[in-house]
């Protein structure tokens, strides 16, 4: 997916939103405006009833989406719609295994490929359990993106990097998404260690809530992923699309500014 990511002068900016939040009709527009404001790729959350790895902000986003009955099929349709005039910007799905399990790995992989999904993060599926899903995705050119955590020991880092494609996602704190205790120096040490063992680009996410923190991360990470802080902009607008547009454009723009612009737009590899 991100062939050109590693070795770039600047880190990629990947904002996260939950698909269907605040309502299904808004998602494609929000994805587009984030790209216009400077996002290099979009991470799209698949809502789930039991988001065990998420903090309160993304939990509430998931609940809002689910009150509209947003299914994984609906999320794929949103990606396809986004693709109509954004052929190149990478889209990464992030979610939990059960909706994929119920749809079936093969059907999911086929429909995800048809919709234009570039990568899939399944939070509660470590590589040990992921062989079948990963094979189904790989066959269709979709990356399996795995998480690395502060508790992942070096042997495991190597094992995971061997099985991952696209990039690896370093979870920058012990905790849930949106937690408030990120330690930049510790993250830097870990990411630099990972890079000695892993040829793939390293994205960093969890707890990155402001342009200054994003700027710090961008010194050593290949991609900076911002979730809860973006979702909070949507939540605080309380369904007012005009306010969502304004506040996301400002926030993504300020993150972009902090991280630095890349010389040319990032494109997904075919």
């Amino acid at each position: 997916m991100f062939k050109e990511l590693r070795g770039e002068q600047r880190a990629a900016l990947i904002p996260y939103i939950t698909a269907g939040d605040p309502q299904p009709a808004a998602t494609v527009e929000i994805m587009r405006l984030m790209v216009e404001a400077g996002a290099d790729a979009v991470e799209l959350g698949v809502p789930f009833s039991d988001p065990m790895a998420d903090g309160p902000v993304i939990q509430r986003a998931s609940q809002r989406a689910l009150t509209h009955g947003v299914s994984i099929g609906d999320v794929l349709a949103m990606v396809a719609k986004f693709r109509e005039n954004q052929p190149d910007v990478p889209v990464i799905l992030m979610g939990y295994l059960n909706p994929v399990e119920v749809m079936g790995y093969e059907i999911f992989a086929k429909r995800a490929a048809e919709s234009g999904v570039d990568g899939v993060i399944t939070v509660d599926m470590p590589p040990e359990e992921a062989a079948d899903l990963s094979a189904a995705l790989t066959t269709r050119g979709i990356d399996s993106i795995y998480l690395l955590a502060p508790t992942t020991d070096p042997d495991r880092v190597r094992m995971i990097c061997d099985r991952a494609s696209g990039f690896v996602y370093y979870v920058s704190l012990r905790g849930v998404t949106g937690a408030g205790h990120i330690d930049v120096a510790e993250v830097e040490d870990h990411v630099r260690d990972i890079k000695t063992q892993c040829a793939l680009p390293v994205g960093v996410g969890f707890g990155i809530d402001s342009p200054p923190v994003a700027a710090e991360m961008s010194r050593f990470a290949d991609a900076v992923i911002v979730g809860s802080a973006v979702v909070r902009c949507i939540e605080q607008a309380d369904g007012d699309m005009q306010q969502i547009r304004q506040s996301l454009t400002d926030f993504i723009g300020s993150l972009r500014e902090a991280i630095g612009k890349r010389p040319q737009p990032l494109a997904a590899t075919p």
């Binding site: 039991d50 790895a53 939990q59 609940q63 059960n98």
Partner: protein, 405 residues
């Protein structure tokens, strides 16, 4: 402790925690290391004579084991059929089988040097059992409990607080046991370095289903010895309620190789298994992944977990332990479901005929065992796991009767 299983062809789970297609480890990466640590501790200590001696001593002197296997003569004649025995887990310290597991896990927490334990609870029995052993060992204790359950199990909430535990009200999702589990997992991922998660049932990521089963198997081992002493033969059927499934697994496990012993797990049919208001994952669910494991799950067509209902908070859970899923598919155990009404019948029968107030969870087992005993007829023997006492449910019963206590 490590009495070998009677079955020679039953060797589950495999090394990665699979019971056939079920079980496994489905958690966020941060938890992979603590689970590996726990797996090692489980493998080492549950074979370590010193550890097992301490566990046995605690079970005897602190929990009050062995629990009696009681011939319920009046219940037998009430249902008019097979002889009914009650395995009296309600007589354990703290009033349920849950303590068998927590005395074991707290010893593991100590061996791993953890100063803080967390747990989820539904009916509050596991929360009380955890708070109890944490108090005894001087460890910090945080219990997660759904707001809905906090309301209907007020006495247990206060017991936990008396024991020095912090009880955290969970307001997310359906505000019951599954959401308490989510919140406990979020705590664990945050405090992973100093915290031991005491899961209360045979569910969750490997090694919990196997660990909790092995700690609860004392129920079945005792039952086996006791029934052989009393009747000079094995029972025809075992009956136990199934929410997550720990009391049932504890009773069943030592009998798995005894093919002549039928095993029945009784789920909560709530207002009826054909309504939306039940918690019968094995009888009415589909295969899914939740809380670290693959098993049967109550979910909608899009893979979202649906809200459950049962009169008993301890059965009000959309999932079930993976070994039960395997026992169901393999045909070794049968799973049935009893409604709230049927469970109440079981509750009143035990109370009026035997002077034993059973937990509403266990009342589901009594209700089914009554029907089964009647069908089997005399000369047969049915053992019910009376997994807990009903004091905690007195308010619920009173409310159903329109009485304010």
């Amino acid at each position: 402790m490590a009495i070998p299983n009677q079955a020679t062809d039953y060797d589950f789970p495999d090394e990665r925690g699979h019971f056939g297609p079920y079980g496994g480890i489905f958690v966020a990466e941060t938890l992979m290391r603590p689970l590996a640590e726990l797996r090692e501790a489980y493998e080492v200590f549950l074979k370590d004579p010193e550890f097992l001696a301490q566990l046995d001593s605690d079970l005897q002197h602190y929990v009050g084991r062995p629990s009696p296997l009681y011939f319920a003569e009046r219940l037998t004649s009430h249902y008019g059929g097979a002889k009914i025995y009650l395995k009296r887990e309600d007589l354990n310290h703290t009033g349920a089988h849950k303590i068998n597991n927590t005395v074991g896990q707290i010893l593991l927490a100590q061996r791993l040097g953890k100063r803080r334990v967390i747990a989820e609870t539904g009916a509050g029995q596991h929360g009380v059992a955890t708070a109890t052993v944490a108090a005894r060992m001087g460890l910090d204790c945080v219990i997660y409990m759904g707001a809905e359950d906090i309301q209907r199990q007020a006495i247990n909430v206060y017991r936990m607080k008396l024991l020095g535990a912090q009880v955290v009200t969970v307001e997310s999702g359906s505000r019951t046991l599954k959401d308490a589990l989510n919140e406990a997992l979020r705590d664990w991922v945050t405090n992973v370095e100093n915290t031991f998660y005491i899961i209360g049932t045979v569910a969750g990521p490997h090694p919990y289903p196997a660990l909790v089963r092995d700690l609860q198997a004392v129920i079945g081992r005792e039952t086996r010895e006791q029934i052989l002493a009393a009747e000079h033969r094995l029972p025809d059927a075992l009956v136990a309620c199934v929410g997550g499934g720990s009391n049932a697994m504890g009773l069943f496990y030592p009998f798995i190789g005894d093919r002549e012993v039928a095993m029945y797990g009784v789920e909560a049919a709530g207002e009826g298994i054909n309504t939306r208001y039940h918690a019968a994952s094995l009888c009415a669910g589909k295969v899914g992944v939740l809380h670290g494991q693959r098993s049967y799950l109550l979910e909608n067509e899009h893979g979202q977990v649906i809200e459950t209902h049962s009169i008993s908070a301890g059965l009000d859970y959309p999932g079930v332990g993976p070994e039960h899923a395997w026992l169901k598919d393999s045909g070794r155990a049968q799973y049935v479901a009893m409604t709230d009404e049927e469970a109440l019948e079981g509750f009143y029968s035990s109370t009026r005929k035997e002077g034993i107030l059973p937990a509403l969870e266990s009342s589901h087992a009594i209700a089914y065992a009554g029907k089964l005993a009647n069908k089997l007829g005399p000369n047969k023997i049915v053992v019910i796991n009376l997994s807990g006492r009903g004091d905690k449910d007195v308010h619920t019963i009173a409310a159903r009767e329109g009485i304010e206590v």
